[in-house]
Symmetry: C2
Subunit: 345 residues, 2 copies
Amino acid sequence: MTVTIKDVAKKAGVSPSTVSRVLSGHPRISLETSRKVKGIMEEMGYTPNMMAKSLVSKTTNSICIILPKPAEELFSNLFFMELIRGIVTQSSRSGYDVLISSGANEREELEAVSRLLKGRRVDGVILLYSRKDDAVIDFLEAGGYPFVLIGRSDRYEDILSVDNDNIKAAFDATNHLIAMGHERIGFVSGPPNLIVSRDRLEGYRMAMESNGLEMRPEWIVEGEFLQDSGYRAMSFFMNLPNRPTALVAVDDMVSFGVLRGLNELKYKVPEDLAIVSFNNIPLSELSSPPISSIDIGIYHLGYTASQVLIQTIQKPDNHDGYTNRFVIPHRLIVRESSMYAPGKK
Amino acid sequence: MTVTIKDVAKKAGVSPSTVSRVLSGHPRISLETSRKVKGIMEEMGYTPNMMAKSLVSKTTNSICIILPKPAEELFSNLFFMELIRGIVTQSSRSGYDVLISSGANEREELEAVSRLLKGRRVDGVILLYSRKDDAVIDFLEAGGYPFVLIGRSDRYEDILSVDNDNIKAAFDATNHLIAMGHERIGFVSGPPNLIVSRDRLEGYRMAMESNGLEMRPEWIVEGEFLQDSGYRAMSFFMNLPNRPTALVAVDDMVSFGVLRGLNELKYKVPEDLAIVSFNNIPLSELSSPPISSIDIGIYHLGYTASQVLIQTIQKPDNHDGYTNRFVIPHRLIVRESSMYAPGKK
DNA sequence: CCTCCTAATGGAACCGTTTGCTTTACAAAG
DNA sequence: CTTTGTAAAGCAAACGGTTCCATTAGGAGG
């Protein structure tokens, strides 16, 4: 049925080991034999059986991405698609296949990771989130499995991770609004157990403080990375007696919610409220008005994560113990949503 | 190091075959033995090696998705992510892993598919596009590999595919505009080599004809699934002496281009031009005004494709030869962009 | 009490590769 | 002419499971 290494060997009049060696470019194979065998492989349409290969080599040439459960909802968030694109592109260049998996909850995720890694189906894992405490990370560390985190982990300092400098990014975003003349600036944060939320909030704080601006507790609201949170935050802010003239939102999707709400209430952006948010998903420039956003290089995050992971898989000993956090540069893209200098109060 | 079936067997004082049978729920294993072995597996942290299993069973319990190169574009991103979400969710429910692969061109795609399928790394494939002639499809058919097409293929009538009834969808969209009182309706199509473009155009034609409405050739323009096409189509239409009062666009992205253009020229939507388009991507409801769109159930397309594929893998003979085209229902979402009844001429 | 059936388990071959250890053949060296 | 070295290729044992074909031990039936 299928043509195996033995069939090729028989037809070529050599032993299976020789064929195998031809395949892997073993040095001690005569050019003549090599050519003949290759010809026959071509002729018979031979393709090596990856399963058999993996079984003996204990290596699968594939990695896996774990999508967190919230990704189900956030999935529409283009963020993940960009990441996946970066990962798949780089992995494919390195000759690795990418498996994508998700679980309904942490237990299911752990189960999946365990099954894939212990079952020798993948060589390593990319985690697309960073929660505070994570059983999956514990498992990976304990088992000594290669893995890379996209995002930062404060609990585990020695973990390989690819991330942005979110503190600096939020600092830049806030400073931009301040430079435009805003003094009352609100902040819409994400879930407090995500480190990215905390980092961005921290950057906002630093910018406000270093400019001697007042920070009212009611100007900071918590939400999700979803439109809805923006919508709610907006209506909360706009009803405040001393409402902000600008806001920083933790994610572009939140901005969309804000925008929709303001639109319904006939407010103008950026005149009534200026907005800057994060991630610069492709939609940011399509909304009306286009949203100023911090481009965090999502594709690049994925690309780098794959690179780092595969390197680790191939040379686990090459790790110098110092450079385990890779920081992808961000940059502020100014668009209409923040192009307005308010009259000083 | 790793715990194998033999280790478990030894510790349990049984043979490897017995352990294997416990694992697969073989009927002729005593309850007592089963319990004991399961206990030991748990205790030793045993996880079956998928590679070894696959090697003998000739089955991998995984499928693969081929991302076409154009997936790099924005429209595709939203679309594909939804699709992937549907596929991954359903596959995971059926106990299948999903591998995601892409190629820079058709040759690379073919190479990947061939390597994965012949190399026994996956059991089947989902193709996320439908070009007119396709070497990958030829390969899959010739090899008798299980695969499902998302989209329709006119050349291969007997291929398993999951699709919408795009003709009917376009018919509905156009009829909606007609019902609102429009008589001069334009159509912005997509690339003519995509079947979806042709089907939607056909539906538009049918609706116009069945209502006895005039169809001017200059009211039909060809473009891509991109904003730009909408922008250009808009300026073409608006300069016509007898311009349309409404238009049907083949994709939401096209509508955005139209919207932007109309906005620049200070035209009002839907008063000066009403719009309906296809796909109902999340942004459709965020634009101003929100766009009426045909929801084609993208997630559902993916979900069903996975279902059909896995069913085919598991029971290849179960195919009745008739139902090889699965049609996902669409529905029109009416929003502001078409909520206006023009004065009759 | 012997035979036969059946439930429960063991033995061993096999899935398609890789790889350490030999073997072979020949040329150079002694 | 024997020894030694080396390049090229073959043998066979893994890798971790599955499964067909025994084998064993009771219990039922005669």
